[in-house]
């Protein structure tokens, strides 16, 4: 009955299987990660020394723009959608995603979006050169002609994200196995459910922003054109109304991953499950009402500044709750330090560090000095790279054995971790100093007083790039030659339905839903038909 995948390329083109689509998303995202990384290498090579050496300033800002767009929309977001596709059905005991054909569509339009976007670099007049935040009127009246392709690409990405999120919402709401109540769902599922709502809410706002741009550029409207009675600041409000929730769209699934992995390697249930859920929801809500903290220097009225400052500071409370919960999960556990755990611990430390700088940035009077300098660049790389990318890497090492039935090489994993961790800090720690000392961001060239830390940062960046090649090597090697794993439960301390299915996970899982019974001790016991009962949750999260 359970048939396997089709043969050849059509397997991937026509697939509606959540695992195949998850795999596609993950490889696509990795390809984009390397592409965006290549752009970053161009940037750091040019900034290695003061002066203009390798690329002209015009091309330099196209590189910064493309780097940001490709990393945010091409690397990080699809990576977590890939993880969601692979893991959510397996975590809630569903046979597949709720809307498999739409799933295929939402993936397959993405490569076109990015092909269009990246092709603009080769067009006459060059690619987008207005930063990933594409402020008008630099992105409208003053933009190169290729901006129309950029707008089209953003529309496609938005459509893809919205379809992906609808799918996730429908799956989580309708396809949970009997007995998998909301408050028993693994935290990764929770964070994705909330993220999906954020996406559905804000992607249309982004679409609105680029549509207004399109009208201004081609159809003579003046939404953002001061000469025609429009307002460039309006653009920033619209953009950040999307943009700030967007940064939480990036980080919430990462929180979910970390909340799965830390308990596994601490051999102890997640501390404060329900407060984790509430904190995630609180963060999501707050993320809608703080957007103008990116605009403290546009000259808003003071009442606005004060409001956005206070609201932003508030986000630190639920964020703090999460960090405390992770650390308390480790407290009195029996911790081992496999590669996924190392990445998660680095995540907790570096993300918290980025949270501290975030808190500093939220103080409007100080932000006047930080804004649009390398201090901000350092802040968001601590939260996005050490946050999202580290947790994504952790997730791959953690679930790879389940996906392909082979174990990665622990030593090589650790080498990659330490290389990434050290190189990351060499790259981005000095950027705090550069920003405080006065170096603005998006500069193709800089004064001599910034020379040394820029050189340090560039060296770190090349090393960090090397760490990613090592990551690719590790993954490919594991898939091809890794030590075979047979146990369903790959990690000693792992809990959750995904560890109930055989390793490697068969093409179809949970064709019949898993069954839950209550043990004498009041713990949930999950089993799949035919197999001996297997305790999946020692203590049902949230039940205690």
């Amino acid at each position: 009955m359970a048939h396997g995948p089709a043969e050849g390329i059509t397997r991937w083109l026509y697939t509606t299987n959540h695992k195949d689509i998850g795999t596609l998303y993950l490889w696509f995202s990795f390809a984009m990660f390397l592409t965006g990384g290549f752009f970053a290498m161009v940037i750091r090579a040019e900034l290695f020394q003061p002066g203009v050496q390798l690329v002209q300033p015009e091309f330099f800002i196209q590189m910064t723009t493309m780097h940001g767009l490709v990393m945010v929309f091409g690397a990080i977001m699809p990576a977590f959608v890939g993880l969601a596709n692979w893991m959510i059905p397996m975590m809630i005991g569903a046979p597949d995603m709720a809307l498999p054909r739409m799933n295929n569509l939402s993936f397959w339009i993405l490569p076109f979006a990015f092909a269009i976007l990246i092709s603009t670099l080769f067009m006459e007049g060059g690619g987008p050169n207005f930063g990933w935040t594409f402020y008008a009127p630099l992105s409208t009246t003053y933009a190169p002609d290729s901006v129309n392709y950029f707008i089209f690409a953003v529309h496609i990405m938005g459509a893809s994200s919205i379809m992906g999120s609808i799918n996730i919402i429908a799956t989580v709401m309708n396809m949970r196995a009997p007995g998998m109540t909301y408050m028993k769902m693994p935290l990764f599922v929770w964070t994705w459910l909330i993220t999906a709502f954020l996406l559905v809410a804000v992607m249309p706002v982004l679409a609105g922003a680029v549509t207004m741009m399109l009208m201004d550029i081609n159809f003579g409207t003046s939404f953002f054109n001061a000469a025609g009675g429009g307002d460039p600041v309006l653009f920033q409000h619209v953009f950040w109304f999307f943009g700030h929730p967007e940064v939480y769209i990036i980080i919430l699934p990462a929180f979910g991953v970390v909340s799965q992995i830390i308990p596994t390697f601490s051999r102890k249930p997640l501390f404060g499950y329900s407060s984790m859920v509430y904190a995630t929801a609180a963060i999501a809500f707050l993320s809608f009402v703080v957007w103008a903290h990116h605009m403290f220097t546009v000259g808003m009225p003071i009442a606005g500044e004060l409001y956005f400052m206070y609201a932003t500071m508030l986000i630190a409370v639920p964020t703090g709750v999460k960090v405390f919960n992770w650390i308390t999960t480790m407290y009195r556990g029996a911790i081992t330090y496999e590669t996924p755990m190392l990445f998660c611990i680095a995540f907790v430390i570096l993300f918290t560090f980025g949270g501290f700088t975030g808190l500093m940035l939220s103080v409007a009077a100080a932000d006047i000095q930080y804004h649009d300098t390398y201090f901000v660049v350092a802040h968001f790389h601590y939260v996005m790279v050490a946050g999202a990318v580290f947790s994504g890497t952790a997730a791959v090492y953690y679930w790879l054995p389940k996906w392909c039935g082979r174990m990665y090489d622990e030593t090589m994993g650790k080498v990659q971790f330490w290389l990434a961790f050290i190189a990351f800090n060499i790259t981005f720690m000095p950027q705090h100093f550069l920003g405080l000392a006065g170096m603005p961001r998006r500069y193709a060239d800089y004064g001599l007083q910034f020379a040394d830390w820029n050189m340090v940062s560039s060296v770190g960046a090349f090393l960090y790039g090397g760490a990613q090649i090592l990551f690719l090597y590790n993954v490919v090697r594991t898939i091809m030659y890794g030590e075979p794993v047979k146990e369903a439960k790959v990690w000693e301390g792992a809990e959750g339905l995904e560890w109930l299915v055989p390793t490697p996970a068969p093409y179809h899982t949970f064709i019949r839903p898993p069954v839950v019974t209550s043990s004498a001790a009041g713990e949930d016991e999950w089993s799949i038909s035919g197999a001996t009962p297997h305790v999946a949750f020692k203590a049902a999260p949230g039940a205690g």
């Binding site: 007049g125 407290y331 029996a334 918290t352 998006r442 001599l448 020379a451």
Partner: protein, 384 residues
């Protein structure tokens, strides 16, 4: 370059041992900057309150970090499986969960108080002694001393040869302008900031002033500088390819010197008005025109007049350039709507406009031969 990398490595080492260090030698191209780790305290009340709340926040965060990470490292050490510990099984504790929600909230309230009073300082723009209008252009600043009738452009002076490495980089690389903004010391100066084309941002770290220069919008910031001297700042909003090349230099003078300077400027303006009507010779116009072209036009249309295909049209061989003088004057005075070819009416004087037009009509492969006089430009302007 290897030498520099080595020097850098050595100074990194010395940084570990001592805090006063290394690379800031006598040779400016040796850079330095390893000791530039923190925000400058600056020379105004606003920059000082910004510095104070920055430091306060930093120390609070450091303290929280020490406690949180200290506990975490202890746990990571003490509760390792390899030490033979047994994992506990608890997963909730209402008391601590409430505590770590409430305590951070209290710390935040404590932070919000100085943060609020600092912000009130920033916004205290009333009762200024003088007003300066600051306008951002691609890629230069214009300053106008309101009520004095004085207005000038401030552009970077660092040459393209220094930038592209054909000449050694000077001490003030990217931090030098042809005409700094001049303001008096100990006076409350209000800056009224706006943009002409795209958004720029006017930042002088030592003043604690950073304000976006948005087209169509005027916003106010202020500074009362306590020490005379030269202060350098940068544009901090991406504004196109010249973004790193529009530095800000402010010269703060004693009040008497400032008044002298102002009087000098006014005299210059009067002198200029008298040359507008004069008939200029071909040679005079060509040499002045070349200067203007290099500074104001070559950035887009390129020094050889051939532009960049697809973005900036070639002026060499252009029919507008070689056509009737009035059409050409119109382009410069009105700009070309919907493109980055802006109006130069407020940026360049009539003499400059006439000179650059005359220059373009008679250089490269262009040779029109007639002479465009400043008075023609003035007449065109007044006729509009």
């Amino acid at each position: 370059m290897l030498k520099r990398a080595l020097a850098l490595f050595l100074s990194c080492l010395s940084l570990m041992g001592t805090t006063s260090l290394g690379a800031d030698g006598d040779d400016p191209s040796m850079g330095g900057g390893l000791t530039n780790l923190n925000m400058p305290k600056g020379v105004t009340e606003v920059s000082q309150v910004a510095y104070d709340v920055h430091m306060l926040m930093m120390w609070i965060c450091t303290a929280i970090g020490v406690v949180v990470f200290g506990f975490m490292f202890y746990v990571m050490y003490a509760h390792r499986k390899s030490r033979g510990v047994e994992a506990a099984n608890f997963h909730e504790h209402l008391g601590v969960e409430i505590a770590w929600t409430v305590v951070p909230a209290l710390i935040l309230i404590f932070m919000a108080i100085p943060a609020t009073s600092a912000l009130l300082k920033v916004y205290d723009t009333e009762n200024a002694d003088l007003d300066i209008k600051v306008t951002g252009y691609q890629w230069k600043w214009q300053y106008e001393h309101l009520g004095e009738g004085i207005k000038y452009m401030s552009e970077m002076r660092t040459s393209i040869d220094e930038i592209e490495g054909r000449e050694p980089k000077g001490e003030h690389y990217l931090r030098e302008v042809n005409q700094p903004l001049v303001i008096p010391v100990n006076k409350k100066v209000r800056f009224l900031i706006t943009g002409n084309d795209v958004i720029h941002s006017w930042w002088v770290p030592d003043f604690g002033v950073k304000r976006d220069a948005v087209p169509g919008l005027f916003t106010a910031a202020w500074a009362r500088v306590e020490e005379p001297g030269l202060y350098v700042g940068e544009c901090t909003e991406l504004c196109g390819k010249g973004h790193p090349f529009m530095p800000i230099v402010v010269e703060v003078k004693e009040e008497d010197d400032y008044n002298l300077w102002l009087a000098g400027k006014k005299e210059e303006a009067a002198l200029y008005a008298s040359t507008i009507g004069k008939q200029w010779s071909h040679e005079e116009l060509m040499s002045k025109g070349e200067d203007v072209y290099k500074i104001s036009c070559a950035g887009c249309h390129q020094a050889d007049g051939n532009g960049i295909s697809g973005i900036f049209p070639a002026l060499n061989g252009s029919s507008i350039v070689q056509g009737p003088a009035d059409g050409h004057i119109a382009v410069l005075i009105n700009g070309i709507a919907g493109s980055s070819m802006q109006s130069f009416a407020d940026q360049l004087s009539e003499v400059d406009i006439a000179a650059v037009i005359h220059y373009k009509r008679n250089t490269w492969d262009n040779s029109v031969g007639d002479i465009v006089q400043p008075i023609d430009v003035l007449n065109f302007k007044t006729a509009q």
